[in-house]
């Protein structure tokens, strides 16, 4: 039997009863749409957490605003919205009190950078000279920041590898000027590529002194402080000293001290929770959808008994009939999957990013579609098999 004909015949049968076909798709549409929506929220949360940590060494302490009990909430909502923020004054205070430690602030904000006629959207990272000691930022060409750059509010910047490639191509950027909000910045260096973490491209940044960033943008706080001991002081001792120093300054414990591993564990917990929710909600909706398809297909087999008899009388083998009905159920669920994906993606894009960050991945789209198709096959096999095993003589007699 010709496969193109089988498909044509199946589509033909579905076209005859459009309303019924649509209704049987509905369960799969809802299932796949919710699956896509939930994964995009899950990935969005993970993305938001990961964007607050860089790829640091395991000996780096991360200080964030907000109490430890609210770490999850803080990570979900973005640390900049927490009421009592960390400040650059905190950083200067810690540096004064802990001369043997390297302490570096970080604040990020989305930025458009202009060079000549080209403009790219990237993220401005405000920090100090210690960042090159606590993070894996490595100078590729040019130079790192000096204390003079930081204390002097200088309009200087260092480009991440992606930003450099996007703006300058093969041209050496060092010594050139770029513009952010019509303010000129001198490019003093470029970073070595760092790759990506999760879905975040670590190289898509432009680094500048925290003082300059705070002077020129609405970012006045410090979103995160990194600290690393330079002598052999153990990490937990450094952490305890930072905690007592900040307690004195802030009066209450309105900050949290963690290390990278704790963040990664948290991100994993969040992702696992979402995966579980996704599996539960998505699979319930999809099973309901699958049962709907099976129901419709069984009704269809009963209604078309005579047609099956005719097809068998003129030489259709059991497998031909089976394939025809299986194709129909798979087509219903596959189309339902595609519609569900469109709805799910649209809803994810419509959710205000400040309310719940969402992130759509091709993986969730592919998985959503594959599950839809599998549901059609799984719940279509029983009706299709029933159709294929009908006795031709009895089927022909059916009124």
């Amino acid at each position: 039997m010709k496969i193109a004909r089988i498909i044509k015949m199946s589509l033909n049968s579905l076209k005859i009863n459009k309303m019924r076909t649509f209704l049987s798709m509905l369960g799969v549409i809802v299932g796949v749409a919710s699956l896509i929506l939930i994964t995009s929220v899950g990935y969005g949360a993970q993305y938001s957490i990961l964007s607050n940590i860089q790829s640091l060494g395991s000996d780096v302490i991360i200080i964030t605003p907000g109490q430890k009990t609210n770490l999850f909430k803080a990570a979900m909502s973005g640390t900049s919205t927490v009421l009592k923020p960390l400040t650059y004054e905190d950083v200067k205070y810690l540096k004064r009190k802990l001369p043997d430690a390297r302490i570096s602030p970080e604040s990020r904000i989305g930025t458009d950078v202009k060079y000549g006629n080209s403009t790219v959207s990237t993220t401005s990272v405000g920090t100090n000279a210690d960042i090159f000691l606590v993070s894996n930022y490595k100078i590729d060409s040019g130079r790192a920041f000096t204390d003079q750059d930081i204390n002097g509010y200088r309009n200087v910047c260092i480009l991440g590898a992606t930003t450099r490639d996007n703006l300058f191509g093969n041209v050496d950027p060092v010594g050139q000027n770029v513009k952010i909000n019509n303010i000129k910045y001198l490019v003093i260096g470029a970073l070595k590529p760092m790759g990506s973490m999760g879905m975040m491209n670590l190289d898509d940044i432009i680094v500048m002194p925290i003082t300059t960033l705070q002077a020129h943008t609405r970012v006045k706080s410090v979103q995160v402080i990194y600290a690393k001991a330079m002598d052999d002081m153990p990490m937990d001792v450094l952490g305890a000293r930072i905690k007592s120093l900040l307690l004195v300054r802030h009066g209450t414990e309105n900050f949290s001290i963690n290390n990278e591993q704790q963040y990664i564990d948290l991100a994993k917990t969040v992702t696992d929770t979402f995966t579980l929710m996704l599996t539960a909600i998505g699979s319930i909706a999809l099973i309901v959808g699958g049962i709907g398809i099976m129901n419709i297909m069984l009704a269809s087999v009963a209604e078309r008994t005579r047609e099956i008899g005719i097809r068998k009388a003129i030489g259709a083998r059991n497998i031909d009939v089976l394939l025809q009905f299986l194709m129909e159920s798979t087509f219903i669920s596959g189309s339902g999957g595609i519609i569900g994906i469109i709805i799910g993606v649209t809803l994810s894009l419509l959710v205000p990013q400040t309310f719940i960050p969402t992130h759509i991945t091709s993986t969730s789209i592919i998985i959503g579609f594959s599950i839809a198709v599998l549901i059609g096959i799984f719940f279509g096999v029983y009706p299709a098999r029933k159709a294929s095993l009908l006795n031709p003589v009895e089927a022909l007699r059916y009124e």
């Binding site: 039997m1 033909n12 068998k312 009388a313 003129i314 030489g315 083998r317 003589v393 022909l396």
Partner: protein, 240 residues
């Protein structure tokens, strides 16, 4: 003439709850190539059961059935489907066309289930056959747009599309008025006379038997009598 159908003591018992119903109680027949045979009997006589067995739609409870010398009484579903597809054509009382397919698509449906054939070629052949029964203009119509006589012509063309060894016609005039019924008989008769198609017509209408070479009377699952028709009326004698 070469024999194409030979049965030995065919029986068929249907199970209905606890009891078995013996629809056929031992039928032995021979049919040669090019023969036009009628099977006649009252309803419930077993003639339809016999046609289903001969048409490979069903398998016998016991006995042997040789089609072109091959024992088909023990074949599996796939083998039977292949035989129905390539060697047998059916014309039914209820026409049995698929309502949502056009006339042309209905006709080439047996070709769709034949992996080796060419659909384009089949469509050309279908058009030629439609022309020979005078309804080539109906090719793109749906069965519901056709009269009963036209539908039965479509069914006959569908039965012929794979060049079958035998055409079975089960009460082919049963749903038609007598004039249209005669036209259908005339077409079947011409196919037999001009193209040498072997045909078996199942009927309860004695007037049809006068056009056939052999008349098999069935009653209560047995062959009551088998008559060689000495005076076969030819197609020309069928009243217009």
């Amino acid at each position: 003439m070469n024999e194409i159908i030979r049965t030995e003591n065919l029986t068929k018992t249907y199970r209905l709850g606890e009891t078995g119903v013996k629809a056929l109680r031992g039928v032995s027949i021979n049919i040669s190539k090019g023969e036009l045979v009628s099977i006649i009997g009252p309803s419930g006589s077993g003639k339809s059961t016999l046609m289903h067995l001969l048409g490979c739609l069903d398998t016998p409870t016991s006995g042997k059935y040789f089609l072109e010398g091959e024992d088909v009484s023990k074949l599996n579903d796939i083998q039977l489907a292949n035989i129905r597809n390539k060697k047998i054509g059916f014309v039914f009382q209820m026409f049995n066309l698929l309502p949502h397919l056009t006339v042309l698509d209905n006709i080439i449906l047996p070709v769709v289930y034949n992996a080796k054939s060419n659909l384009r070629e089949a469509e050309r052949k279908a058009m030629k056959l439609l022309e020979s029964v005078g309804i080539e203009k109906r090719a793109k119509h749906l069965p519901a747009q056709l009269s009963g006589g036209e539908r039965q012509r479509v069914a006959i063309v569908r039965a012929l599309i794979n060049d079958p060894l035998i055409v079975f016609a089960d009460e082919p005039t049963g749903n038609l008025d007598s004039k249209t019924g005669l036209e259908i008989i005339k077409i079947l008769k011409e196919l037999n006379e001009e193209k040498g198609v072997t045909e078996i017509i199942v009927t309860h209408d004695p007037s049809i038997t006068q056009f056939t070479h052999k008349i098999i009377h069935i009653r209560d699952g047995f062959i009551e009598k088998e008559i060689e028709n000495g005076h076969v009326a030819n197609a020309e004698e069928i009243k217009k």
